[in-house]
């Protein structure tokens, strides 16, 4: 039998494969983009998230440059001008000692944002990996690790704060340490819960079948898939840390005077909120704004980083 050429065969067929180049059809498939680039692209599209990001940037700028913008110092008292209302000279009024509230709020931004960021960092790094490992290994190790978490949860943080105040001088470091101790546990539990459920899912089995090392499964597969709850927890954690600092201030264990965080300013403002509402609501609004921006950003990040929503 003579070998027929392809062209011969083609001519005899009912259907002829079309050559791509003849069609001039554009590529429908976009070029393959990396995970992070894709995430950033998606984030940019989310208007609220961008608003959040911008607000955070503004707040950061306010924290860094705000105190220098004003002509007053945060600890400059003027006893003849206490409780002044909001005016051109004092944008947000003055407090019980005649100090400019605008300057104090700007200074407070530094402290509160620092508190929030430190808490988020500590909880993220310690909490995510601790919870991830605990959930992944499971069994007795998980039991022991989670019981340690229980212990951290139950021991009164206040005792630790006071003890720290005694050993070190009262100040910001104590609050950072106390936050660190208090916050990583929440994250650890959430991550552990997620990992417990995810490790039985198909993609994990697939990864294992492909011979991925435990470490690789944990870091490349499980943790990115827990990003949703992790991000939500982390973004709510920052303002939560600010609240916790406010609570410490409310009971008198916050930063030392004359330094003031938003928490201190707000809890000081409670006593006089009827006569001088600005002293309460100005720091409260800043706390809320921070909350909102981190949440918008957080929602956006969650959507952007979720591998399953990749298009």
């Amino acid at each position: 039998m003579k070998k027929k050429s392809r062209e011969d065969m083609d001519e005899k067929r009912l259907f002829t494969p079309v050559k791509k180049e003849e069609l001039g059809i554009k590529e429908f498939v976009r070029p393959s983009v990396g995970y992070w680039k894709d995430a950033w692209r998606r984030l940019k599209k989310n208007k609220l998230a961008i608003v959040g990001l911008m607000m955070i940037t503004l707040l950061l700028l306010f924290a860094i440059f705000g105190p220098s913008l004003s002509t007053y110092k945060y600890d400059q008292t003027e006893l003849t001008n206490c409780y002044a209302p909001m005016s051109k000279a004092h944008l947000f009024g003055t407090d019980a000692l005649g100090r400019d509230v605008f300057t104090r709020v700007a200074f407070g931004a530094r402290i509160s944002l620092a508190v929030g960021v430190v808490a988020a960092f500590i909880s993220f790094f310690i909490g995510v990996f601790y919870g991830g490992i605990s959930g992944f290994i499971g069994g007795r190790t998980d039991n022991i690790m989670m019981r340690i978490v229980d212990i951290f949860y139950s021991v009164p943080v206040l005792l630790i704060v006071i003890l720290l105040m005694v050993i070190l001088r009262p100040g910001l470091t104590n609050i950072f340490i106390a936050l660190g101790i208090a916050y990583w546990v929440g994250m650890a539990r959430i991550v552990r819960g997620q990992v417990l459920s995810l490790k039985e899912q198909e993609f994990t089995l697939a990864a294992r079948a492909l011979g991925a090392s435990k470490r690789r499964i944990l870091t490349k597969h499980l943790i990115p898939n827990t990003m949703g709850p992790i991000i939500i927890t982390a973004t709510l954690l920052i303002p939560n840390a600010i609240f916790f600092e406010a609570f410490l201030s409310f009971i008198g264990l916050g930063v030392s005077a004359p330094m003031a965080s938003w928490g201190v300013l707000a809890s000081d403002g409670i006593q006089g909120f009827r006569s001088y509402p600005n002293l309460l609501f100005v720091p409260a609004i800043f706390i809320s704004l921070t909350m909102l921006s981190f949440n918008f950003l957080g929602d956006g990040l969650r959507d952007a980083l979720d591998p399953r929503l990749r298009k």
Binding site: L163, R189, S197, G228, L236, A266, R274, R308
Partner: protein, 308 residues
């Protein structure tokens, strides 16, 4: 599973032991004592008091003797309040805290979870945006500000609810709402996020294409999986709310357990510190235990066996 449960019970007891020991030594480590006052107590009397309560004994002895009475269920006398024992304090304060705690938790579940579901279901529609917006208020305002504003508007200005105090259902409304604000909002957002994850999964498509009603799809299939992070959060949250909130109870003048977590430390009332800590720890380990059992029901793939 049974083996797991027994294991857990042992470890819970261990946790309680460790927590009480740590707290004991921490509390004794900070300076001061229950009898320290600005108007100094004369030395002779101070000595007698310290002898009576064995404060001059070596720390190990004090620890052992405290643990001994603890085993019998006796949490000891309060050093600060002559008329109360720690058992009294907990017996009187806990029901009060638990009542508003229960209301708050109920509120947060009834409002939070459905809100989150609807929000995820109608992502980016007005329902989603409304829920997200309202929940932002709940989580962005510290509880002492919420409490003060509520008391002022509903109590003083509108006079439709009592400002503060304890004595009937009307007194519970504002405190419960204040307590519930943050958890409700948080649960709504957590539910929403989790539902969004789950709803985009293949098995949901499968369930729908099988012809299941939307309601069944959401509740039987989606919710069961999405609720996991919510349940995780609720464990410690319930433990904390039920055992009493310092800020809410102080502002609303509620005779619950909340104040002792702070004041006992200030007063160096060691037995109350330990009593309230152990009480809270017990609640917490129970809550986490129940949560872990629930995991196994919600997601049958979760096992507690050790990975080989």
């Amino acid at each position: 599973m049974k083996k797991y449960i027994i294991n857990r019970i042992f470890s819970m007891i261990l946790v309680l032991l460790v927590v009480s020991s740590l707290t004991f030594f921490l509390a004794k480590a900070i300076p001061g004592g229950p009898f320290t006052k600005e108007k100094k107590v004369p030395d002779i009397i101070l000595q007698r008091l310290e002898e009576k309560y064995h404060f001059d004994d070596p720390l190990w002895k004090q620890y052992a003797s405290y643990m001994g009475t603890l085993m019998k269920g006796d949490l000891g006398p309060s050093f600060r309040y002559d008329a109360l024992t720690v058992n009294d304090i907990i017996a009187k304060g806990f029901p009060v805290s638990a009542t508003i705690g229960f209301l708050a938790v109920l509120l947060s579940i009834i409002l939070g979870i459905p809100a989150g579901i609807i929000s995820a279901y109608r992502q980016n529609f007005w329902q989603d945006n409304t829920v997200m917006f309202v929940s932002l208020i709940g989580i962005s305002v510290p509880s002492f500000i919420l409490a003060t504003v509520f008391m002022y508007f509903f109590g003083l200005k509108l006079k439709i609810l009592p400002i503060a105090g304890w004595g009937g259902f009307r007194y519970m409304i504002l405190p419960a709402i204040t307590l519930a604000a943050f958890p409700t909002a948080y649960i709504a957002r957590l539910t929403r996020s989790s539902m969004l994850d789950v709803l985009s999964q293949d098995y949901i498509k499968t369930a729908r294409s099988k012809g299941l009603s939307e309601f069944k799809v959401i509740t039987l299939h989606a919710l069961k999986n999405a609720i996991l992070p919510v349940v995780t959060y609720m464990g410690p949250m319930i433990a904390a709310i039920f055992t009493g909130s310092f800020i809410v109870e102080r502002l609303f003048f509620i005779p619950g357990l909340g104040k002792y977590y702070v004041t006992a430390i200030y007063d160096r009332d060691y037995t109350v510190i330990l009593g309230t800590t152990i009480f809270y720890a017990f609640f917490l380990v129970m809550a986490n235990f129940i949560v872990d059992i629930l995991y196994a029901f919600l997601d049958p793939r979760i096992t507690y066996e050790e990975k080989k």
